[in-house]
């Protein structure tokens, strides 16, 4: 094996498969329907994999995307909507171009997966058979992870960690605040969607309060984690732009969150109690229900995958991508989901129509806006290693960087948004 590297092996394997592909594929094309890819979830992961397989297989694979919503509001950039940098329309997308790209879009809820029969069962009872299934169901909120919180409480104390009506509710409550009011944020334990997201949101709250001249208002962050993503950069930014406004408490300080009361807005920790005019409670998270019900998740509530190909460790015909999977060193982000989707799309095509597969490579960048034209970023490249998706390289903004660079970061993030939504939704 000394001189047979994985790369060479892939090339060799690809070549031999290519030679075989004609006789294998021909009877199938004549006698049977085309191979079928079914995708559950029309977000960054699902949208990307559906479009890429449809485009790159040029009609050789029958692609069906199952997504109950007619429009998709992106969670990424929803903090910028809350702060008034974007309007709601600009973060909401439809599936017209996905359909035009050769994907059959079924706007219905996928109720369950019949893994033995290789069929997805829709909420209405219809069954959609698949040869390969990619699921990208995103996260479910664990409402009971915060004492006193519930799905009903979320109508008063929004989590807004799934974008849409929750985000609009959050903005409505933010707009109703008066000077001197307290915003309390409860941030989630690891792992969760968008690690820097809660702290960008706190920054955006502060931006709005500052703009309104609410000098007496405070933002208290009650964190179950002793540290968070880009912490030094956020804290530097908070001191610079919003001195004294944001108070972050680690679990040693607050001693644990004892209760939240949606009726009174009271939030109690072991150290103190707060009367929150706006409570933004972001609970712990798990993989979407359909993944857990299908037995694709482990004890962590998320789905283990093979880092070489994004396949579920529980079922070789199913791929799990995006926030629902266990992505090793990658964070749960739209960028990650999009990157994982491209690996899954490549492997799906190689298995169904014998196209050539390359070794899996992944990448991610997370930008966070702290104040107008002041954005920081963190990112990396990743590849399979030690049984997981392993970080191969990394970069992160540094403290004390020039304002120009942070302005450039913001521009880069705006360009990235335009690019990724075009990649997902066409």
């Amino acid at each position: 094996m000394t001189d047979l590297t994985r790369r060479k092996f892939t090339v060799l394997a690809g070549a031999s498969l290519a030679a075989l592909s004609t006789p294998l594929f021909a009877p199938r094309a004549l006698g049977q329907a085309k191979p079928r890819l079914v995708v559950i979830g029309g977000g960054p992961g699902g949208g990307t994999v559906a479009r890429y397989v449809a485009k790159d297989s040029a009609g050789a694979i029958d692609v069906t995307l199952i997504e109950p919503l007619k429009t998709y509001t992106t969670c990424f950039f929803s903090n910028l909507y809350v702060a008034g940098f974007r309007d709601f329309k600009s973060i909401t997308h439809n599936y017209d171009k996905v359909k035009k790209g050769g994907v059959k879009v079924v706007h219905e809820m996928a109720a369950s997966i019949d893994r033995d029969k290789k069929q997805v069962v829709l909420a209405g009872g219809a069954r959609v058979p698949y040869d390969r299934l990619v699921i990208a169901p995103g996260i479910d909120i664990k409402f009971d992870s915060v004492p006193g919180y519930s799905e009903a409480a979320a109508q008063v104390m929004p989590h807004a960690w799934k974008a849409g009506a929750q985000t609009q509710l959050l903005l409505k409550k933010l707009n109703a605040l008066k000077d001197g009011d307290t915003i309390v944020m409860i941030t989630p334990p690891n792992p969760y969607r968008c690690p820097p997201g809660p702290y960008e949101r706190a920054s955006m709250f502060a931006h709005v309060l500052k703009k309104k001249g609410h000098k007496k208002s405070k933002i208290v962050i009650l964190d179950p984690k002793p540290a968070f993503s880009k912490q030094a950069l956020f804290m530097e930014g908070w001191e610079k732009h919003y001195p004294g406004m944001i108070e972050w408490q680690d679990p040693k300080m607050h001693g644990g969150i004892k209760s939240v009361d949606p009726k009174t807005g009271e939030i109690k920790t072991d150290l103190a109690s707060y009367k929150a005019a706006l409570a933004n409670v972001i609970p712990a998270q798990t993989a979407g229900k359909i993944a857990r019900d299908a037995g694709l998740a482990d004890q962590s509530g998320f789905c283990p995958i093979d880092p070489e190909n994004m396949k579920s460790k529980m079922d070789a015909n199913i791929f799990v991508i995006g926030d629902a999977c266990i992505p090793g060193d990658m964070p749960k982000s739209a960028f990650s989901a999009n990157s994982q989707a491209k690996v899954a799309a490549m492997v799906v095509r190689s298995e169904l129509v014998k196209s050539r597969a390359f070794p899996a490579r992944y990448s991610n960048t997370c930008w966070s806006l702290i104040e107008t034209d002041d954005a920081v970023k963190i990112g990396g490249t990743y590849e399979p290693g030690e049984g997981k998706i392993k970080q191969a390289s990394t970069f992160v903004s540094q403290k004390g960087e020039a304002a120009d660079l942070h302005k450039q970061n913001y521009k880069e993030s705006v360009d990235w948004y335009a690019g990724i939504v075009a990649d997902i939704f066409g």
């Binding site: 610079k240 004294g244 408490q249 040693k252 300080m253 001693g255 103190a272």
Partner: protein
């Protein structure tokens, strides 16, 4: 700030004589170091809490000098040995001489 009332927690309200009592306290304060410059390049004047002290029934059990490196909204955690019942008074002294005071009670049996 909206709420300069310090948040104080004793791990017990009643203690036997000689028992250890843990105090946690968090206070909202900007803790401006005096080393930063504003957008015009002018130094932002220092404004920190420079001294902290805790008394139990009038007797000092713990004190600390705070320096500019202490973060905003300073959090302090310490222990004292229960000796007598009485008010537990925590006092933070600002550079401008003003004080933030918080009070709890301990009963020693």
């Amino acid at each position: 700030m909206a709420d300069v009332k310090p948040r104080i927690k004793l791990d017990k309200k009643e203690a036997k004589k000689g028992e250890i009592v843990e105090v946690k306290a968090l206070v909202s304060h900007i803790m401006e170091t005096g080393q930063r410059k504003d957008s015009k390049g002018e130094v932002i004047p220092r404004k920190i809490l420079n001294k902290f002290a805790c008394t139990v029934n009038g007797k000092e059990v713990f004190s600390a000098d705070f320096e500019p490196a202490i973060s905003a909204n300073p959090y302090i955690q310490f222990k004292f040995k229960a000796a007598e019942s009485g008010p537990v008074v925590l006092t933070w002294t600002d550079d401008d001489g003003s004080k933030i005071v918080g009070e709890e009670k301990i009963t020693v049996t």
